[in-house]
């Protein structure tokens, strides 16, 4: 008889398994590349357009168009990330949860000592670790771009603006968690992706209208557009989204039936 893990080790086993699947599939790797390369390319394109006096781009940027240095760079990056990054995070979560149903592997996750709720939590923990990695990498790339543009010399005092970027990335990742719940309830990737699009639309429309500072799924996008209109305490409400929807997700996995 082989040694069995203690109950407290079952969550660790779930995390190990989910990390291995995520690492081997390359889906998260390619999503990281797309987010970093996409945000980087868009940012450089916008900066070039502003520098060459493109009126439409300048009008779309609003007051941000007149802000130079680190603040201007970070301002553009966080606005792109609040929408595009949210899409990428939602798609990644939809894949992590929905693929078990699409591939049919969910049936193999029943009748195991590792509870299905632990598997769901393991997926969310792996997702969170990956999201922090994306935040660090994107911040590193943007720092490189800023230094390349000479902001290290011309705007040394504005360097602290960069701190907004990893925080925005992590907050954006947190509000994508309902996609995991939707992918579970809908038994596939598409319900998760549809939910992600819904969150993006609500967050962007309300943020552009400058309302919803205290609505957790709106606060990050609004903070990206108008940092002064979102109190720090409002940002503290954002973790309520993954807590509530993560719990719902674990509950849904725990009570899952293969009845469809």
């Amino acid at each position: 008889m082989s040694a069995r893990v203690a109950p407290r080790g079952l969550l660790r086993a779930a995390i190990t398994v989910e990390a291995r699947k995520a690492r081997s599939s390359h889906v998260l790797l390619w999503t990281t590349v797309l987010v970093v390369a996409g945000v980087g390319a868009l940012t450089l394109g916008i900066l070039a357009a502003v520098a060459s006096g493109e009126e439409q781009v300048i009008a779309k940027l609003g007051p941000l168009a007149g802000v130079g240095g680190w603040a201007g760079l970070v301002g553009i990056v966080v606005q792109i990330t609040a929408a595009g990054g949210l899409g990428a995070f939602g798609v990644a979560l939809s894949w992590m949860f929905g693929r078990e149903f699409a591939d049919g592997t969910v049936a193999a996750l029943f009748a195991m000592p590792v509870p299905r709720a632990a598997i769901a939590i393991g997926k969310l923990i792996v997702y969170a670790i990956w999201a922090v990695g994306v935040a660090v990498l994107l911040t590193g790339v943007v720092t490189g771009v800023g230094l390349m543009l000479g902001y290290g010399v011309t705007d040394a005092a504005g360097f602290g603006e960069l701190a907004r970027l990893p925080l925005l990335v992590v907050l954006t990742a947190l509000i994508a968690v309902p996609a995991a719940w939707a992918a579970t309830l809908g038994r596939g990737l598409l319900p998760g992706i549809a939910t992600t699009i819904g969150i993006i639309v609500v967050a962007q429309v309300l943020a552009i209208a400058d309302v919803g500072a205290w609505v957790p799924i709106v606060a990050p996008a609004l903070w990206a557009i108008a940092p002064d209109s979102v109190p720090a305490a409002a940002l503290l409400t954002v973790p309520s989204v993954p807590l509530v929807f993560g719990a719902l997700c674990a509950l849904a996995w725990s009570r899952l039936q293969l009845d469809r």
Binding site: M1, S2, R4, P7, K21, S25, A111, V114
Partner: protein
């Protein structure tokens, strides 16, 4: 079934009912799998074999009835109970992005095996199911039959005492069928209780101690594994059950009209 017999069962379902919209499902099945026994269930497509296995493994909750796994009520089964179970119902645990070995390693962890014991069990499973050539190949590149072998190895590598396999010979080549047969016979001899479903009556007859025929969500009789013409006996049971149900439906309709 006496309480003593019941206590010796590895897997037991009593009065299992699970109805789906449209009328399909289970209509009250009692079924037991004893220690050391290979119990086969056979039936036509849609008879309820997979639904029965899903209910026995907690993939579906029954409307009524109860399931006991190694004597433990399914509703209170803990990690220790599930650690004694191995199953392959529908899709095997075979993630396309992982190699054959990678899938077996994560299966071992999900079956609650300590990290230090994983390699030994995986090596043994690779040898038992002759997966050496595919151990380092991504599962997405394997044939359906070899994916099934990986799934069977993943379901059995932790030496479970309660085994449930739905159509386990699906897509297997003749060599794979023999490997599986030997594997099941060895495990039954070691005390495992094994429930398998199959459409292949000849194959079932080679391994099963008991064959139960499922039709329209009910257990309608049994076949003798040593019988001479299993196919004929199977169809006699199914057709007479269908005829009896048709007669009953006609009688009901006549009574309602009157």
């Amino acid at each position: 079934m006496t309480p003593r017999e019941s206590a010796a069962l590895r897997l037991e379902g009593r009065g299992l009912v699970r109805r789906f919209r449209g009328g399909a499902g289970l209509r009250g099945i009692d079924l037991g799998v004893a220690s050391g026994e290979i119990h086969a269930i056979v039936g036509l497509n849609g008879a309820g074999k997979t639904t029965l296995m899903r209910v026995l493994l907690g993939m579906l909750r029954p409307d009524t009835g109860e399931v006991r796994v190694d004597g433990v009520d399914l509703r209170s089964a803990d990690a220790a109970t599930w650690a004694r179970v191995g199953q392959l119902v529908e899709q095997p645990l075979a993630y396309g992005e992982l190699t054959g070995r990678g899938n077996l390693e994560i299966a071992a962890r999900l079956h609650g095996i300590e990290r230090g014991c994983v390699n030994r069990l995986v090596d043994h499973a690779i040898e038992e199911f002759d997966l050496g050539r595919y151990a380092r190949v991504r599962t997405s590149r394997l044939s359906l039959g070899n994916r099934q072998r990986v799934g069977l190895a993943a379901a059995l590598l932790h030496e479970p005492m309660v085994i449930v396999l739905d159509e386990p010979t699906n897509a297997l080549d003749p060599a794979g069928v023999i490997l599986l047969r030997e594997s099941l016979l060895r495990r039954a001899a070691a005390g495992a209780g094994i429930l398998v479903s199959s459409h292949h009556l000849d194959e079932v007859a080679r391994v099963a101690d008991r064959i139960t025929v499922i039709n329209d969500g009910r257990a309608i009789g049994s076949l003798d594994p040593d019988g001479v013409d299993l196919e004929r006996a199977f169809f006699d049971l199914v057709l007479s059950d269908d005829a009896a149900r048709d007669d009953a439906a006609r009688d009901d309709a006549t009574r309602s009209a009157a």
